[in-house]
Amino acid sequence: MAIVVDNDTRLVVQGLTGREGRFHGLRNRGHGTQVVAGVTPGKGGQDVEGVPVFDTVADAVAEMGANTTMVFVPARFATDAIYEAVDAGIGTVICIAEGLPAHEMLGVYNYIRTLGITMLGPNCPGALSPGKANVGIIPAEIFREGGVGLVSRSGTLTYQIGHELTQLGLGNSTIVGIGGDPVVGSSFVDVLRRFEGDDETELVVMVGEIGGDEEEKAARFIEAEMTKPVLAYIAGFTAPPGKTMGHAGAIISGSSGTAQGKKEALEACGVQVGTTPTEVAQLVAERMGARSR
């Protein structure tokens, strides 16, 4: 089954004719994703290595049956692109673009929630269901199929943990990058709920970082509603308050949003937190070993 992206994903790439959009769109196709269309206003009728390009998302939906979009347009056009996709009936929006104004994202978030749209990002690496579909910039070659669901606010840190799992002989159901901005389309809780309902996912690894309170909310959700084991990692124990650590959302405000606070909240709800990415992978291996025996 996997979550967010799978064999049924029919992808339209908004910004397919741009350098990055083209590179990653074609890479995604190379990993088995059905990349059915691109959208660039004014370039309708062209194609990118056989992928037809349309002027509007509505055309891509009508002509090619696109159901998922990957937004690869510059930040200042990204909000418009998201609304266009939602208006055209797209159900899953994956926004790789970063640098969207937070107020714009506030409007998008509150709008899509009322419509039941799934959204990842902005400022995210996308989602990969190994062997099925890859939408975004996650390097699929380092992951393999398996039973570990992975959800993270960070790209390379996720790759690191996924890679360590692969080396221990474990694989992933889906790797979900929710994004590093203060407001993103899906929270940890949203993704955890879907992993809980996914047949292929046996265990979930949640990779959090400083800023906000989504890890704390996830801790309460895990305790109250999840039957599958969840392991966590939190980055940013050494981060000073008031400084943005690379991700716009990774900032300790006053005394809230610290890594220590998140770790304590998770542990209080019975979620084990690894101290290094390597230790998390080892903990997963122990749990998975125990489950299969």
Partner: protein
């Protein structure tokens, strides 16, 4: 981006929020003429991007131009929590009968703007929230429905402000502060204190405004308020080169690709008993020019004793990253010991390339923890 009080008040003034008349001064002479123009008693206020300036002696009353000159001499150059005072805001002094608090914040947890109002102003709002939460009126605004005046009315009633004259004045201030918040793409617009004078006039006595960096392109007038002199020199150099860098206080210089991985690297260095000197994110790849820029920024910090590279090869393969690092090191001379930890796609090939061609001060380690331990040893 944080604004100075005087800049925040300028935004408030543009949005029709009452503020006191004032002038900016950077020298005692300017403070003197500002006091002259304003007339009567003035307040000399240090402009720093940190709190606690009152307690630090950064806010003083002055009776006329001579005293304003003297107070300015005392305050200019003062170090307030690591911020040196270079600007003063000279403002007509206000008589204060009551101190309230009003703010609009970007509540990322609720994903809605949050209005807060209390009659217990003049102190840190966290203190009010902790000690007398019932005195703090809080109300979220649905960003789709937008702000409507009922929200201001509910807030004012909930805060227990029952003087009709105050209600009449605060109502438009709430509305305008919300307009300022959305109109400036602010993450915070705070008035503390919002004063009531003995004559019953309501006015913003302070201004704390933070604007979303990602939205500055839409607000060139606010973007140009940025005071580059207030940015630490290392961070300024990094910004000019487009390097994502945060200065910390340790000895192990750190660079890696991806914000999460770099934060994790800092933590692992601390676990290994060391102290990270900085946060530095190269972004996606390990291209030579990016590495050169980052190394220049990191080695400009005299506290740095060793350097730890933590690279995960994804789409940019490990062998390409290794060549990028070698090329970068060939373009500059670095005497610091450098520890490289390379993992991911083609990492073995990358490590082999480094081991064969690397200069004597470069050490290759296979895991994050071993690399961190080595870098910490070398910094000792």
């Amino acid at each position: 981006m944080d604004l100075y009080e005087y800049q925040g008040k300028e935004l408030f003034r543009r949005h029709g929020i009452p503020v006191s008349d004032g002038r900016l001064a950077t020298t005692p002479d300017e403070a003197r003429s500002a006091a002259q123009e304003l007339g009567g008693q003035v307040v000399v206020k240090a402009q720093v991007l940190t709190g606690g300036r009152g307690k630090a002696g950064g806010v003083k009353l002055a009776d006329g131009p001579d005293e304003a000159d003297a107070r300015a001499r005392e305050i200019l150059g003062l170090d307030i929590r690591g911020h040196v005072v270079r600007k003063l805001w000279i403002e007509r002094a206000s008589d204060i009968a009551k101190e309230y608090y009003l703010s609009v914040t970007f509540d990322r947890g609720a994903k809605k703007p949050l209005l807060m109002l209390t009659k217990e102003g003049g102190v840190e709002i966290e203190q009010v929230a902790a000690e007398s939460p019932d005195a703090l009126a809080r109300l979220h605004v649905d960003p789709l429905a937008g702000f409507h005046p009922f929200a201001a009315r509910r807030l004012i009633y909930a805060a227990g402000i029952d003087d009709p004259d105050e209600q009449r004045q605060i109502l438009p201030i709430v509305t305008r502060l919300y307009e300022c918040f959305t109109g400036s793409d602010a993450m915070l617009c705070e008035i503390n204190p919002l004063i009531v004078t003995p004559e019953g006039e309501v006015r913003a006595l302070d201004a704390k405004v933070t604007v979303d960096d990602n939205a500055l392109f839409e607000h060139p007038d606010i973007a140009e308020m940025q005071d580059l002199d207030a940015v630490p020199p290392e961070e300024r150099a990094a910004r000019e080169k487009g390097v994502t860098y945060v200065k910390l206080d340790g000895e192990v210089g750190i660079l890696g690709n991806g914000a999460g991985l770099v934060m994790s690297t800092l933590d692992v260095v601390a676990l290994a008993g060391g102290r990270p000197a900085n946060f530095c994110d190269l972004g996606g790849g390990g291209q030579a020019q990016g590495v050169v820029d980052a190394l220049e920024v990191i080695t400009a910090d005299p506290q740095v004793r060793s350097i730890l590279f933590n690279i995960f090869g994804g789409i940019t393969r490990g062998d390409e990253v290794a060549r990028g690092i070698l090329q970068a090191l060939g373009q500059m001379s670095i005497s610091h010991p450098i520890v490289v930890r390379l993992d991911g796609t083609n990492a073995e090939e990358g490590r082999r390339i480094l081991a064969e061609a690397a200069p004597a001060n470069l050490h290759v380690e296979p895991t994050m923890l071993e690399a961190a331990r080595r870098a910490v040893e070398l910094a000792a």
